[in-house]
């Protein structure tokens, strides 16, 4: 390990020039190198001391206190009004889900089959697709539903849809009024709501689960609640933003006609924000689907369950089929909501012959009714015919993976080792094997260097919190994975983002791939990576990189593409080379997007670091996963959850402060920061 440390952990430090002597002109990155240098020196004398490492099944008094608190809450469930309320709420959700399940997905005793069999459900879904979005979507829906049955996961697929549907319905009921509030309140009110949403959105998905299990038990109710909580912020934020962005001139003009505020909302603000609201609903559905998959951890019904159990057995083939169906469902939901909004836009503008459409829909309803009736009446038609397509695909995938590892195992191992020994381990040694006070001082010093006092204050609070919850060592390992992953994400984002911004063809080629990538629940990414690299920290990081890359690449591409073409033209007219054009004009001017991309990358990585707890990511993710499965580990898991949140907040605050500081002190005549860093 010691030899590896000779390579400084910051990639920018590969060719470190001696920092200029006069401190006044020392750029921030040079200061950061100084901090890291000092850190390395101190580390080499003190490594292994006071690292606060805690064994896998060890807990501290604090963790036990949390577990006791959980036990106390559970013991008081008959008397505690809060628990009674949440349990009541949860039982409503459960009964809604179960009722729907009996209708369309599981046998409704004494019937051997659901009330409506697969043919009926598929027919109705197809008809709905036809009604809201046209025949192309209807075909897509029909094929998707058919594939659910064909691959042997009919019930699980429909369960996942049911949980998503229930959660999204509640999210819209609760979220739209809040969105209207956000869209119409004054600036102070909006900033309060936005801050709350920020906190929710910085929280990695997993962290919700432990407290939700406490208050809602496990199963369908917990699944609906965590899905709801996760899916709510995008709707409120996007729809609220849409309502807020309605042209002030139009509002003024219609106000001058003497409308009431209700008329303003209903006839002006909501219709004009309709497109954005639909985008919000789409985002909410996609978020709900991805969370409903993860809810398998709390025993939620749906496709997440088989993926999870296969992953924990390292059965890639078994995870592949349900994972693929999740992707199918994601694409189906995404395409249908988008197409539905386009179709309704057309209808609203009178470009659709309504009479003809009604006739088509009525005609199409006839076979639907027949299918409904048939699948209710004949149990043979209610169940999808047995076949072993799913399991033979799983076997095939396993065979392919074995072959692939045989042939290319060397390459994947090489790549894995390169990142692990070249980047991951040295940094982890420094962060986690330093005495905790040295790491803490190092982190705080870096926070101060990058973000000044505004970053230091939240960093002090978060570092103190991380220390307080007694999982310092694990926290450092998770932080390290997150940082390494983010570096990789940013490398990808810069390369592909710039390429996309500079070439229309690359953009046309990549953007659909990235869009598709963004609709896939993060869970699914683990499957192929696990197949290639086996369970390890690296697997979790790579899955995180792939999960975070699309959003980061798009942010960079849009940022660089948004640079005024006049400025680029002006620079070209002075004879700048392409490289100069990129590094001196486009990237500096897109700096805001770069910072945002890095920030998003960090948060995505953090949430993947936890999901990856299952596939050998270890550290906090493992603590949390263990907290679900072992009741005596609940306290430790809860502490790990809180620690993750603290890491997330710290990273977020430091990144924002750094971005703000940069933009305040930014002097366009100065060299961009990464050039300064390289000397």
């Amino acid at each position: 390990m010691t030899t590896a440390v000779a390579t400084p952990p910051q990639p920018a430090a590969v060719e470190p020039p001696p920092a200029p002597p006069e401190p006044r002109t020392l750029p921030r990155w040079a200061w950061a190198l100084v901090v890291v240098g000092v850190w390395i020196v101190v580390w080499s004398f003190t490594k292994g001391q006071d690292t606060l490492a805690l064994g896998a099944r060890e807990h501290t008094d604090l963790h036990n206190e949390f577990t006791e608190f959980r036990d106390a809450v559970l013991a008081s469930r008959d008397t505690n009004p809060i628990i009674q309320f949440t349990y009541q709420l949860g039982s409503w959700f459960t009964s809604a889900v179960e009722w729907l399940q009996r209708m369309i997905s599981i046998p409704d005793f004494p019937r051997p089959v659901p009330q409506i069999g697969w043919i009926g459900v598929t027919a109705v879904a197809t008809w709905v697709g036809l009604a809201v979005a046209g025949w192309r979507i209807a075909v897509l829906v029909a094929l998707s539903f058919f594939s659910f049955g064909l691959f042997g996961y009919w019930s699980d697929s429909i369960d996942l849809l049911i949980v998503t549907f229930v959660a999204v319905s509640v999210a819209i009921l609760v979220g739209m009024p809040l969105a209207v509030l956000l869209g119409t309140t004054n600036r102070a009110g909006a900033s309060v709501i936005n801050t709350v949403l920020d906190i929710f959105q910085t929280m990695p998905t997993f962290v919700y689960l432990l407290p939700i299990v406490l208050f809602f038990g496990i199963g369908a109710s917990a699944a609906v609640v965590c899905t709801l909580i996760y899916a709510l912020p995008p709707l409120i934020r996007i729809a609220g933003h849409g309502i807020r962005s309605v042209s002030g001139m139009t509002i003024e003009a219609t106000d001058s006609a003497g409308q009431t505020s209700w008329q303003r909302l209903r006839k002006v603000q909501l219709p004009m924000a309709r497109k954005t609201i639909v985008v919000g609903v789409n985002q909410t559905i996609m978020a709900a689907l991805s969370m409903a998959t993860i809810a398998a951890y709390v025993d939620g019904p749906g496709l997440g369950g088989p993926v999870l159990s296969a992953l924990s057995k390292n059965d890639v083939g078994g995870a592949f089929v349900p994972g693929m169906l999740i992707v199918v469902m994601a694409v189906m939901l995404d395409r249908s909501t988008t197409a539905a909004s386009e179709a309704s836009e057309k209808a609203a503008r009178g470009r659709i012959d309504l009479r003809k459409r009604r006739i088509v829909l009525a005609a199409a309803a006839v076979p639907v009714v027949v299918a409904l009736w048939a699948s209710r009446t004949y149990t043979d038609l209610a169940e999808f015919p047995e076949n072993d397509l799913g399991s033979s695909i799983a076997d095939g995938v396993n065979r392919f993976v074995d072959w692939f590892i045989d042939v290319f195992g060397g390459v994947t191992e090489w790549f894995k080792d390169l990142i692990t020994y070249g980047l991951l381990n040295p940094m982890q040694d420094l962060l986690a094997e330093s005495p905790w006070y040295v790491s803490a001082a190092g982190i705080l010093a870096l926070a101060f260097v990058f973000g000044g006092l505004r970053a230091l204050v939240p960093a002090v609070i978060c570092v103190y919190g991380i220390w307080f919850f007694d999982l310092w060592h694990d926290a450092m390992i998770t932080l390290n994975m997150t940082l390494v992953g983010t570096v990789l994400v940013m490398v990808l984002a810069l390369i592909f983002g710039v390429l996309m911004a500079r070439s229309r063809y690359v953009d046309l080629l990549l953007r659909p791939v990235l869009d598709a990538g963004q609709t896939i629940p993060p869970f699914v990414y683990l499957i192929p990576i696990l197949a290639l690299f086996g369970p390890s920290r690296f697997t979790a990081i790579l899955a995180g990189v792939i999960y975070a890359a699309p959003v980061a690449i798009k942010l960079v591409a849009d940022g660089v593409g948004g640079v005024s073409s006049t400025t680029v033209e002006a620079s070209r007219s002075t004879g700048a080379t392409t490289w100069q054009e990129i590094t001196k004009v486009q990237l500096p001017m897109a700096r805001g997007s770069l910072v945002l991309a890095a920030n998003q990358g960090l948060l995505y990585m953090l949430s993947m670091a936890v999901i990856g707890g299952l596939v050998g990511a270890g550290a906090l993710g493992y603590d949390i996963v263990l907290g679900f499965s072992r009741s005596e580990e609940w306290g430790k898991g809860a502490c790990a959850g809180i620690t993750i949140v603290l890491i997330g907040i710290m990273i977020d605050r430091v990144a924002r402060a750094a971005a703000d500081k940069e933009s305040v002190t930014h002097d366009p005549t100065r060299r961009p920061w990464w050039r300064s860093a390289m000397g």
Partner: protein, 357 residues
Amino acid sequence: MSTVTDRHATTSASTADAALSVRHLWKIFGKGADSIIGTPDAELSRAELKEKTGCVVGVKDVSFEVAPGEVFVVMGLSGSGKSTLVRCLTRLIEPTAGEIVIEGDDVTRASQSQLRELRRNHASMVFQHFGLLPHRQVIDNVAYGLEIRGVPKKERRAKAAEVVELVGLTGYEHSYPDQLSGGMQQRVGLARALAGDPSLLLFDEPFSALDPLIRRDMQNEVIRLHHELGKTMVFITHDLAEALKLGDRILIMRDGAIVQVGTPDEIIGAPADDYVRDFTSEVPRSHVLTLKWVMHEPNGDALEGPVLQADQIVKDAARIVLDHQGPCRVMEGDKLVGVVDDEDILRVVVAEEEVKP
């Protein structure tokens, strides 16, 4: 100058008949704006006040009256407070102090529901950037004011169709705003304002966003509508030519305060200060001034030749005067008020030639 103040005084006396009367209207933006009015701070210039209190004066102690059927133009450069002023009239912006009376109703003291009633039935506004609803067809945009009043669909569509025809948009009823040119969109804005049959129309730089040819058409359209419908209009513009073309009277604003109020020939003939003079220096004076401004005392001249009226525009009278050898008589009604000769006319016309490059 004296003429201007006289005229101002006479209109002030006839408050009862005024369609719109504004007295000592103030709008100050910023914290603690209420407490400034009445203190010596209120006398400070805009920049000084901003320096001292952080507040910005939008409208500063403005008073004027508009007679029924009059076209009253408020003119000023950007930042002069004219748009703030017109928004204060129906309290789209809450005035800080002062009184606004529209057809005898005190707007400043109106409750929210009274205010809505006023906006629905008495005063409509046309905006620079149209402010149309992009998700509604032209006909439903025009009917919007009626819709929020609760007029049934059939009735309001019928009424809207009439107005659409009036502004010359027949055939475009079912188009959406983004399918129309800027000029046509503003016709929709105009139609929307007219649909409620208000007695007072407010225009906030309605044609500034249009290109010059369309702007001229739209100005003529407003003149035509004014002739046909006889509505009282308050028209905001930064374009002096537009102001002179449309206005019965013009109010010139600078830094939130009134610089001068008067008829077009008064503004040109007797500018209140250097600011107005500078402003009006490039206007072809012969096109605006009436004979009253160029005639001289009939001291000993032979009182014969053609008779001209004092309010006749110089340009129109020039041919007659120049054709006639010697001075012509200028009458106000039956009363002789002065004479005008070739030199009087040429002084105006030739001076113009010198101004022009």
